[in-house]
Amino acid sequence: MAVDGGPELVQLLTPEGERVEHPNYALDPTPDQVRGWYRDLVLVRRFDTEATALQRQGELGLWASLLGQEATQIGSGRALAPGDFVFPTFREHGVGWCRDIDPLQVLGLFRGTTNGGWNPLEHNMALYTIVIGDQVPHAVGYAMGLTFDGASDACVVYFGDGATSQGDVNEGFIWGSVFNAPVVFFCTNNQWAISEPSERQTRIPLYRRAAGFGFPGIRVDGNDIFAVYAVTQAALAAAREGQGPTLIESFTYRMGAHTTSDDPTRYRSGAELEIWKHRDPIERVKSYLARNGHADSRWFAAVEAEGDELAERLRTGCRALEAPAATAMFDNIYATPHPRITEQREQLVDYLASFVTPAGSR
């Protein structure tokens, strides 16, 4: 069981909510900033809880829960500068939150009303990628483009521990390295790739793989938003300064199932879950805020109330996400008309119109 991050784990806030110093990562966030993080953490967890419930109610076909990974996502997401570009997996709902993507836009993919959801160029965040690891070369290409353009931005690509076994991810490491691309390789090691533990992907800690590719690797406490923020910010700064890629291994835990279709009781122990419950990414920030007098119970209650409002908006909004017209499947496949598509769209329209009661109205 991989439960211990080891001595090289970068941590700035203990599970008990106590600040600890790290020689390489000085961080002194303002109370406002930490309150903002706390609000983000609570709201994305609420978003996630609500989405799981909506799946159970049949409103979503599937949901990939981020439970337990809130600090990993918000910490890294908040470290981004506006011009930075993000390439996500299909679980970075919290990063999308930081990129001002409305949770309802995320739900469309899982409800089956769209295969996308948002304009990547409007939010500087690519669409979700479901084929494991495919987005890593995309990010490297984008980062090469940043260099060619002389831009001062960087790019972050997320992937999981399972993805580190994919060829594309390893190719991406090589490309990022030899082209010295301004890219941060952000590995969310949540210990489980559906049912396969990280031991099935690697026999060394994942962050150490970076050495073989020629760039730094860092293992950070993925449940510590202070540390994730600091480490990501440093990696982005290095990328912008022309130092090339960094591999961040965010050591965390997938508290829920892989997706709503999965049953983790078949392959992992409750004892492991218990250990990680004590490392909850939100509780420690709450303790920190309370202990330092940065927030009181009224403030915490207000955040909870905001969560209730969000949940209500998601429930209503999700149910209102309508299926597009049947002919939408023919939209935007090509930039200029393609005769086969044009012809088949017309066929479908005619076919639907041939029913006495319109078939498309169901």
Binding site: G116, V131, I174
Partner: protein
């Protein structure tokens, strides 16, 4: 007007496209100092620099993957896959990512990427260097698939493909790289035949031969030989496999009543099968014989010492022509 090989014509076309638009980048293995294994990119790195003519690591999947990221950033990457048989590591990025990208983003992130692939056999190469993968790509919505049959078309078509807002699989018939013909450098793209249009390259009345890429020359030779026997064959260079210019083909078949489709690729589930189905549907009452197909056998590409038995040649084309005429 200059006499150029297809390789030189492609080189000149790439040069013109790069001069016209500084967002055009070339990426591939050995395309820089070496100029590509077929010299199609000869001298381009010297003239445009190594940020525009990029020698990549030996990783086909990432050539495509990185091109997708570059396209999101507003570049127009032209990827070279060194040989047909090496495109398969990139198959996932092409079919799962590139082809779907535009639709998924509702058109927000177009993918003006060209994938150049030398394809086909007939050069005595070792395994994995002689394949014809066009049907895989033509089967994938979101891609366009074109292939020139002669140097003049190659010069214009590569520039049109680069200008296309959609991803284009650009198949280069490698055994025709050294074919020479007159190429007009002054060709205006706007007044050239549209990229996705078929061209009647020889007019005839008795039967239509539909073909593309390396088989265009073979079919023209077959038409010459048939003419000596008093048979008039019309030859159509399809040029585009996706979309297919069925109208040009149907117009011809409605006149001749007979169609033979010729390609190097294995016949089953291939481009010929698609054409046969569509022409049968569209020209049913005009057909005097079933649509016939001449192509590779349904076997892995054979060792080069027997590839001449696999590849359609003049005799096999004429054999099918006779079969069709005998109906």
């Amino acid at each position: 007007m200059a006499v150029l090989t297809m390789s030189k014509a492609l080189n000149l076309g790439l040069r013109r496209a790069m001069e016209r638009d500084d967002r055009v980048l070339l990426m591939g293995q050995d395309i820089g100092r070496l100029g590509g294994v077929f010299r199609v990119t000869d001298s381009l790195q010297k003239d445009f620099g190594d940020s525009r003519v990029i020698d990549t690591p030996l990783a086909e999947s990432s050539i495509l993957g990185a091109a997708i990221g570059l396209a999101m950033r507003g570049f127009r990457p032209v990827c070279e896959i060194q040989f047909d048989g090496f495109v398969f590591p990139a198959f996932d990025q092409i079919t799962a990512q590139l082809a779907k990208h535009r639709a998924r983003s509702s058109g927000a992130t177009p993918m003006p990427i060209v994938v150049r692939i030398p394809y086909g056999g007939g050069i005595g190469a070792v395994e994995h260097h002689s394949e014809s993968p066009e049907a895989y790509f033509a089967h994938t919505p979101g891609l366009r698939v074109v292939t020139p049959g002669d140097p003049a078309s190659a010069f214009v078509m590569i520039q049109q493909a680069i200008a296309s807002a959609d991803p284009v699989i650009f198949l280069e018939p490698k055994r025709r790289y050294w074919d020479k013909a007159e190429v007009a450098d002054s060709s205006e793209l706007a007044s050239s035949p549209e990229l996705f249009s078929a061209q009647v390259v020889r007019v005839g009345t008795d039967l239509t031969l539909a073909t593309y890429g390396p088989m265009v020359r073979t079919c023209l030779q077959a038409a010459d030989a048939a003419a000596a026997e008093g048979k008039s064959l019309e030859v159509i260079d399809l040029r585009s496999v996706s979309p297919l210019d069925i109208e040009t083909l149907a117009t011809s078949v409605e006149r001749t009543g007979r169609l033979v489709v010729v390609h190097e690729a294995q016949v089953s589930f291939g481009v010929g099968a698609e054409i046969a189905a569509r022409i049968t549907q569209q020209c049913f009452y005009h057909l005097l014989a079933p649509v016939l197909r001449v192509g590779g056998y349904d076997v892995p590409y054979p060792p080069s010492r027997i590839e001449s038995h696999y590849l359609p040649d003049l005799d096999r084309v004429l054999d099918s022509v006779d079969s069709s005429l005998a109906y």
